[in-house]
Each structure stands twice: as C-alpha cells, then as structure tokens.
C-alpha cells in the first residue's frame, strides 16, 4: 500500500479544490482497496473504533449504500440518518443537527443535501471531517472519483481523451464534479444536451458545448449520460420526456455514431428508454455496474484518507 503522505485534508468538499496529486493519491488508495475486494474476507481493520455518520437529507440509494458498505469494509461503525427521521423535521437547523452529531463523538460526517454549499458550510462550523456526498447542483465529488477511476481502468491514461457528458448539465452536480476531475486528469470535456440545460456560458469553464448529438458523439472515447430530472426543477427547461428522447436519447442507431470502442457511463438511477435505450444500458459498451462497484473502493479511499488525516494513529495501518 502506497503511503498517502501528500494527503493533509480532513474534508472532501469538492473536486474543484483538489490538486492532481491528491486525485492520484485517492486513486492509488482506491486501487489497493480494490485488490482486497477479491478476498473472501473483505473487511479491513483500518477505521476500527471510528464512528461515521451518514446524514442523507435527500433521497439516495447507490451513494448511501456505497458509503455504508465502504465504512463497514473499513470496520467503522456507521449510522445513517435520513431527512424523514432526523430532527430537521422538528425544525432543528442543519447547524444544530451537525453540532449535535459532533457532540455525540462522531468521527466523520458524510452529508448529502439539496442546498449547494452545505458541506462547505458545515466544515466551517464543526471540527470533524466532512465528506460531501452531493450538494444541490454543486458537486458530487465521490461520483466523479468513481467515474474517472472507472474511465482510467477502461481507457488508461486520460490525457488527451475525449469525454462527452450528455443531458441535464445545468442542474447536475455529477457533471460539475466530472468537469473538474476530467480536466485535472488532462481529458477534453464536451457538454451536450438541449440549450436550456446546457447553457453556452459553460464554455467559460474551458469545455466544449454543443447541442448537436452527432457532433458530441462522433469522436468521444466515453460518453457519460445524465438522468433527466423532469419531475424536478427542469420542468420549464424543455417540453417533455418524449421530446428529450427524440432529440437527445441515446439509442442503438445513435450509438453507431460513436467510435467502436467508446464506452457508455451513467451515474444512475437510469431511466430506461428515456436517456438510454434498454439494450444499450445492458450492452458490452456499458460500464454502469463497474461504476457502482468502483463506488465502494473510491469511497473507502476517501473515508480512509479523511478520517486518517486527523487521526492519532498511523494512517497506513491498512493490513
């Protein structure tokens, strides 16, 4: 196991704030954890005695379960609090909830919240490590970590590789975190989708923006699909699911515009038949389930690094 000597952060709030070296550190720790997954005894003692609280104030399946499994594989005690069972429903503020969790001697807080900037806000008012599990439309750092980790497994070095992110970019924290991660790793990013959900202003982040699906797919090494959240904020941003599917849905015919070895990714949950055809989601091009598995090891790496940054113990006692 490589020593994580250049890791000094206790919080993981965003990808934007990470250096390339820090990204590489996470990947290398994740990689060593991935090797342990193949053992029959999967549990590691690294975070034994630590208590991790998952405060999930927005619905989540994959991310919440992956964080729980990641923490358990590291032998931490995990408590998950969701919004409907928390005191926030009794009018307690997020600030008080978080300070109470700290006072209950938790060692690390994982937060999922609908308000952008909430993890930054919490990191200023509590002393224990804060890990962002998705904040509004801002960032979803561990998703971008598992996405780029998967991409590296599939494509090798990402320098010069072309990655297209397709769908609702405006409201997507996954898109934002991936833009930063891919750029730090040297990949070229193209954003594609309807003009209302992919405003050209994104070009100021040094990415390509196109509203032509064919153009977006033509030379991509990978395409990341995003779910269309039509039930939520985007209801005024495009006419209908049917319209979206007919203009931007990825079907078999359109997938033929891709290079033969290009891969298809999706952070989930997928809406079969909307942003992606069912057969494509299950095809060999799709790495959707590899992403999910990698989500465990990437989150193990993040929990390990952040919890160890403040630990009295030797952080490299991994086994």
């Amino acid at each position: 196991m490589k020593k994580a000597s250049n890791w000094t952060r206790k919080d993981l709030l965003s990808i934007e704030s990470l250096s390339l070296e820090e990204l590489e550190t996470i990947f290398s720790v994740a990689d060593s954890f991935k090797r342990t997954l193949k053992r029959s005894q999967k549990k590691l003692p690294s975070l034994r005695g630590k208590t991790i609280v998952n405060l999930f104030l927005e619905p989540s399946t994959r991310t919440r379960v992956a964080f729980e499994i990641a923490a358990k594989r590291l032998s931490a005690d995990v408590i998950t609090i969701t919004s409907n069972v928390s005191s926030l429903t009794k009018g307690e503020t997020l600030r008080d909830t978080a300070r109470n969790i700290e006072a209950l001697n938790a060692d690390l807080l994982v937060i999922r919240h609908s308000a952008a900037g909430s993890p930054q806000y919490l990191s200023r008012i509590i002393n224990i490590p804060v890990v962002n599990a998705g904040d509004g439309a801002h960032e979803h750092p561990t998703q971008a970590l598992l996405d780029t980790f998967t991409l590296k497994e599939q494509l090798g070095d990402l320098k010069g590789k072309k990655v297209t992110i397709l769908g609702d970019i405006l409201f997507s924290r996954v898109a934002r975190s991936n833009i930063w991660a891919l750029q730090k790793l040297g990949a070229h990013v193209t954003l594609a989708g309807p003009s209302t959900l992919v405003p050209v202003l994104f070009r100021e982040l040094h990415v390509e923006v196109t509203h032509s699906l064919k153009e977006a797919l033509a030379d991509a090494d990978a395409v990341m699909l995003l779910r269309i959240q039509h039930e939520r904020q985007t209801s005024t941003h495009f006419p209908s699911i049917g319209e979206y599917k007919s203009m931007f849905g990825l079907n078999l015919q359109r997938a033929s515009w891709l290079k033969p070895d290009a891969i298809i990714m999706h952070p989930g949950p997928i809406n079969r038949g909307v942003e992606i055809d069912s057969q494509l989601a299950d095809s060999k091009r799709s790495v959707i389930l590899q992403q999910v598995t990698n989500g465990i090891v990437c989150r193990m790496a993040v929990l390990f690094l952040c919890a160890s940054a403040t630990s009295q113990n030797d952080p490299k006692k991994l086994s």
Binding site: E16, T93, L94, R95, H113, S114, A115, A116, G117, S118, Q120, Y121, D135, G136, A137, H138, E139, L170, R173, R176, P199, L201, F202, E204, L205, Q233
Partner: protein
C-alpha cells in the same frame, strides 16, 4: 433661552448650495443660521471639526426598520441608532411584510414608535397593495394623510401590470411617489444569486439580469403612459442603467437608486457560500458594477440608498439556499462609498455627498439634505481618512448581517446632529430627553 451650535474649522460641503470650503456651520434652536454674533458664539456649544468634513446629514430613502412585524431583527430605536452611527439623519422606512402598512392605524403605530424611540428623522412609506399581495390597491390617500411619503410593496414588486398601472395613476393624484423593487417573479423563482459563471460553478440557482430589466422597462412604459413618478429601487444591472438613461433623455418621470453593496461587491463574493453576500437583487458582475458607477456619475441614477435589511444570526447562519436576502448597510455606507467613488477617483466628495443628501431628499420632497439657513440642523461630521475594521459587535443595529465584517474601511462618522442635537459622538449614540421633542 436659545441653544447655539457652532461647528468650526471643518471643510464644509453642502452640495445643495454649491458650498465646498473651509468654514463654520451655525445653528440656533435646531435650525441652520448663516452666522452667530460674537455674544452668541460665547454661549454656543463649539464643536471643532478641523481636518474633518462637515456636511448635511445623510438621507436614506430605502431602509428596513422592521417595526412593526419583525422587531427581532431591528426596531425603530436600534435602526435609528444605526442610522445615527452611519451619519444618516433621515431615513425612509419600508413597509413590513409581517404587518403591512396598508392601513392608517399601522402608520399611526409607526408614528408613535418614532415619537417615542427614534433618534433620527423617520419617514414611513405605505404599502402599495393590501397585504402587499399585489392584488388590491391600498388606501394611498388615507395613508398619506397619516404621514407617509411614498408607497411601495417593498421587495414584493407588483407583478400584475393592471394593478401597477392603476396604483401609479391613483398615487399620482396625491403626488405620491411609487417606489418599486423591479423584479419579475417568475424569472427569479428559487433563484439565490446572480446568473452567470459563478452560479454555474457554485451550482446555485441563477437570477438573470432580465428579471430586473423587464420590470424597469415596464415601469418606464407605465410612467410614460400615466405621467406618474416611479422610483426604481436598488438598480443592479447594466441594461437597466441604459434603459433608465434613455428614458430620462425623453424626460420620463422616473428616478433610480443604487446601493453601496451593488457598487462595491460582485457575484464572485458568493464563492464561499457566505450568506452575508446573499442580497436581493443579487450581487452582479464587475461589468454591471462599472455600469452602475457610470450611471451614478452621469445622473442616470439619482442617489445612493442602503437597502439596510437586518436579519438575525440564526436566520442568516444557515444553508445558502435557505437564508433570507439582505444586508445591513447604514453603518458602513459612507466608508464603502468613499472607497468605491472617492478613493478610486470616480468623483469628488461633493458629488458623493450630493448622492447621499439633497438628491434623495429632493426625490421625495423631504426638505432635508441641505445646510441652507432655516433648514433643520441635521449635520454629519466625518473623517474621510480614518481607517477602521468592521466589527459587528460594535454595530448599533440589532442585526449583524454585513458583507464587510472584518474588512478594513476608510472614512468614519465622528459626529451626527439631528436638529442641532448631537446623537452620535463617533463611539456611541447620545440619547437626551429632548430627542423625542
């Protein structure tokens, strides 16, 4: 026996009278007089103002005093203390959503509180519509009889154009100014910061300039159509400045203001999700800031107003999306404006003081903002050079939601006089028995 006041040796700047020279200011029994006799000088309370600037007390035509309705945030007492500390001797207070000034009894309640608690002059405004809900007209005539100086639905800009048209038409009969916080509601639903590269980066819901530009245009059209005076509050976009500029070239009866925070701060300030930068309208881009300054200097924008909007720490210290909009401004306004306009060599002291005194006063015909003989001796004395660090614990305001906390600013109010009475001595407010006379 008469009370004589003599402020000597300062640089007296009174834009209403084109005065800018070293000299003395005199008052007898709370009114400005051109001179005192030698015997009167001997009896006078002399205030030495050498090295300081002496000017008319500032006039803020856009203050939220929060009473009645939101006195956990501010009261007429604490709000006017903050005004005195900031050199403001007259404030025009907005109606409050939690107890709208849509009836004479509420105005009377405000008048009573002013009589009892106010340290500076307070001019109330009335609601434009009942409950500030934008549906039925409030009784502007009766409200005026109770003492209001303008009508407005405060930050709830009237969306229904028919209601707005009738409101300005009706108010015009009484020569009442209609003040509007220009904003299209549908375009800003759920928005929390300026729409631009920073909202994209931060993942916060963007607030387009168009929301303001559309209602500014609407108001220009309604003013043209009815001849009524509409005052456009806290302009924040470059396009709005241009629309107003062109309207004024056609002599449309509109006026406009800008706040110190929109002049001084941009949307980049939001990058750490500090809710003390969450304002309505939001902090815009540097291009908008430049256009606002240009508009202020060429007369497109008539005055500077604070939009002093107090919120408690427990209201503001929350997630960015959840926090209420607004910042306190009375106690930092002068220093911020000195920095943006005078120290940056955009204009001289006299022009800035004009924007803080006679210009806003004239818009609402308050008869303030001047050192003319016979005027109320509302006087502010400030040191344009003194540096100070903004410490919220020293605020007179009940609330501390300032975007300048911890920042070093230059320019400090040393003394404030209302009708010849000293109400601020540079460190603390001075409450005398006579204040409520």
């Amino acid at each position: 026996m008469s009370i004589f006041t003599w402020i000597s040796g300062g640089r007296v700047i009174d834009p209403a009278n084109d005065r800018d020279a070293k000299g003395d200011v005199y008052a007898v029994d709370g009114k400005i007089v051109p001179r005192l006799s030698d015997t009167e000088k001997k009896q006078a309370q002399q205030i030495k103002a050498d090295g300081l600037i002496v000017c008319p007390g500032f006039v803020d035509i856009h203050t939220h005093l929060c009473e009645p309705g939101d006195t956990h945030r501010e009261t007429i007492q604490t709000g006017t203390w903050a005004a005195a500390a900031g050199g403001f001797t007259s404030v025009v207070c907005m109606p409050n959503v939690n107890q709208p000034s849509d009836n004479p009894a509420t105005i009377q309640q405000i008048n009573d509180a002013v009589e009892r608690d106010a340290l500076v002059n307070v001019f109330p405004t009335g609601a434009l519509t009942m409950g500030m809900e934008g549906k039925e007209l409030a009784p502007a005539g009766s409200l005026q009889r109770s003492g209001i100086v303008a009508i407005t639905d405060s930050y709830r800009s009237v969306q229904n154009n028919e209601i707005m048209r009738r409101a300005v038409e009706y108010a015009n009969m009484f020569n009442l100014v209609v003040m509007d916080h220009c904003q299209d509601r549908a375009l800003t639903e759920g928005s929390v910061m300026n729409e631009g590269i920073w909202s994209l980066r931060l993942g916060l819901r963007g607030w387009p300039n168009a929301a303001e530009d559309i209602i500014v245009s609407r108001n220009v059209i309604l003013s043209t159509y009815t001849g009524a005076h509409i005052h456009l509050q806290q302009i924040s976009t470059s396009n709005a400045v241009e629309i107003i500029r062109r309207a004024k070239q056609r002599n449309v009866n509109i006026s406009a203001e800008v706040t110190p925070h929109h002049l001084h701060l941009s949307d980049e300030c939001v990058k750490n999700y500090d809710t003390n930068f969450k304002t309505n309208p939001p902090l815009r881009t540097p291009d908008d800031q430049a256009a606002l300054i240009e508009g202020l200097l060429d007369g497109t924008l008539d005055c500077i107003s604070t939009d002093h909007m107090p919120h408690t720490d427990y209201e503001k210290n929350v997630e960015y999306d959840q926090a209420p909009f607004g910042v306190v401004g009375l106690e930092t306004s002068l220093a911020v404006c000195l920095g943006v306009l005078v120290q940056n060599k955009q204009c001289d002291f006299s022009q800035l003081i004009k924007l803080l005194t006679c210009n806003p006063s004239n818009l609402l015909k308050l008869g303030k903002g001047t050192l003319s003989p016979g005027a109320d001796a509302d006087i502010t004395v400030f040191d344009p050079k003194e540096e100070w660090v903004v410490d919220p614990d020293k605020f007179q305001s009940r609330s501390k939601n300032s975007p300048w906390i911890g920042k070093s600013l230059q320019g400090k109010v040393k003394q404030t006089f209302v009708s010849g009475q000293k109400v601020w001595d540079g460190e603390r407010v001075i409450i005398s028995e006579n204040n409520s006379d």
